[in-house]
């Protein structure tokens, strides 16, 4: 039958699919038109059922309930970054603080000179009393000759920082005495140095002794006996 080939297409046609051939056929075929009408009625019922299913208004106090719940539950509306602001500010403050502390530590005295008990065995025997006055200086016992000793330095600007100096053996106590005096403000370095350097009166001028060069005496070889080669040979 000719209508059989339209049966499956009737559903799609009822749903709105375009089908000119079926459209022309339905105009002339009563049975197909009846099937199409039934299908359209069913779809219409479905649409009405769906519409009635979702029809309705929320209660009049819906908005008031929402506001009430927002207040009760303490919900806030904030920008997404608002929650990060305190965390970011704290992190930035920490970074600044750590940077500041690290810069300060770079300017502070180095830890190379440690406050250790005086090493009695390492102390030179010539100046034991001075070594006790400056216990913060530790001298390695194995060192010999001039040693580089870094005295403790007060925190100072870099421009005023003292350079490291080589202190010969035995002069460390004097250096420390000068340093402490400077540090405590009891004396300035210039006066100490002036006191330490002998005055001109106490200095004796250098005298030069004339070098006497005695003429070289050439002693001729002693003639103990003339060579007698011919007799010897003989």
């Amino acid at each position: 039958m000719i209508c059989d080939r339209f049966k499956t297409r009737l559903e799609d046609f009822a749903l709105g699919a375009e089908d000119p051939e079926l459209c022309a056929h339905v105009d002339s075929c009563a049975s197909c038109r009846a099937v199409l009408d039934t299908q359209r009625a069913l779809l219409d019922s479905i649409d009405r059922g769906l519409t009635s299913m979702v029809a309705g208004e929320p209660a009049g106090d819906f908005a008031a309930h929402v506001r009430q719940r927002i207040a009760q539950e303490g919900i806030t509306t904030r920008p997404w970054f608002a929650g990060w602001l305190p965390i970011t500010a704290t992190a930035l403050a920490l970074v600044v603080l750590v940077t500041f502390l690290m810069l300060r530590r770079d300017h502070a005295p180095t830890e190379s000179v440690k406050e250790t008990p005086p090493a009695q065995t390492a102390r030179p025997p010539r100046e034991p009393q001075l070594a006790q006055k400056a216990p913060e200086i530790s001298v390695p016992s194995s060192a010999s000759g001039p040693r580089m000793i870094r005295p403790p330095r007060p925190p100072q600007p870099a421009a005023l920082r003292e350079p490291e100096v080589l202190v010969p053996r035995g002069e460390m106590a004097a250096v420390m005495r000068l340093f402490h005096a400077n540090w405590e403000g009891n004396a300035d370095g210039a006066s100490l140095m002036a006191a330490a350097i002998p005055t001109t009166e106490s200095l004796k001028p250098l005298t030069t002794a004339e070098l006497k060069i005695l003429p070289l005496e050439i002693v001729p070889l002693a003639e103990e006996g003339k060579p007698n080669g011919s007799s010897d040979h003989r």
């Binding site: 649409d47 769906l50 299913m53 929402v66 509306t77």
Partner: protein, 181 residues
């Protein structure tokens, strides 16, 4: 620096009051949408109101990034849909829902008992058929029924191309018709 510190709280207050005002507008013009989406899934007015309120609470929390009206409505539909599905899974109140529908319809004065019975039977079958639809078809067909949304608007709400919405709507209605024949 003091000036900056002083202006930040004021700016925050201004921003927050502006957000409050905009949220009130969204609450006024989208509450029916949220309620109907929830009603389409739950088919119970009280449950639908609860779910719609929950959806608005969540929307309020994230409102700063949902200030655009279209974006807000699309987000609201999605969150309401998910909350309604969660609700229906959590509490199986099918019997209560059906009873509520029957009482509502029996109270209509112009309909006969037979009409109401036939109508109720059809709606029950329709509801069951709707529940059996795949989720992506169900949400399209329900949104299409809400407020007479056209396919373009449904597409905006679901962030889908209009052609996709048309196709899904076609298949959804076809499946419903097959199940209800």
């Amino acid at each position: 620096m003091d000036a900056l510190v002083g202006t930040f709280p004021e700016a925050a207050v201004i921003l927050e009051s502006s957000l409050e005002r905009e949220f009130e507008e969204r609450l006024a013009d989208s509450s029916a949408l949220a309620f109907r989406v929830a009603l389409g899934v739950l088919r119970n007015r009280d449950d639908a109101e609860d779910v719609a309120q929950d959806a608005f609470l969540r929307a309020y929390q994230s409102f700063f990034r949902l200030r655009d009206r279209d974006r807000f409505r699309a987000w609201l539909v999605r969150i309401t849909w998910r909350l309604a599905l969660d609700r229906i899974r959590a509490s199986r109140r099918r019997e209560a829902r059906e009873t509520a529908v029957m009482v509502q319809e029996m109270n209509s004065p112009e309909r006969t008992v037979e009409d109401v019975r036939a109508s109720r039977e059809f709606e029950q079958r329709l509801a069951r058929a709707l529940d059996e639809l795949p989720e992506k078809l169900r949400v399209v067909v329900l949104l299409g029924a809400i407020e007479g949304h056209d396919t373009r608007e449904v597409g905006r709400l679901l962030d889908l191309p209009e052609g996709t919405v048309k196709s899904r709507l076609f298949h959804a209605r076809k499946k419903l018709a097959e199940m209800l024949q």
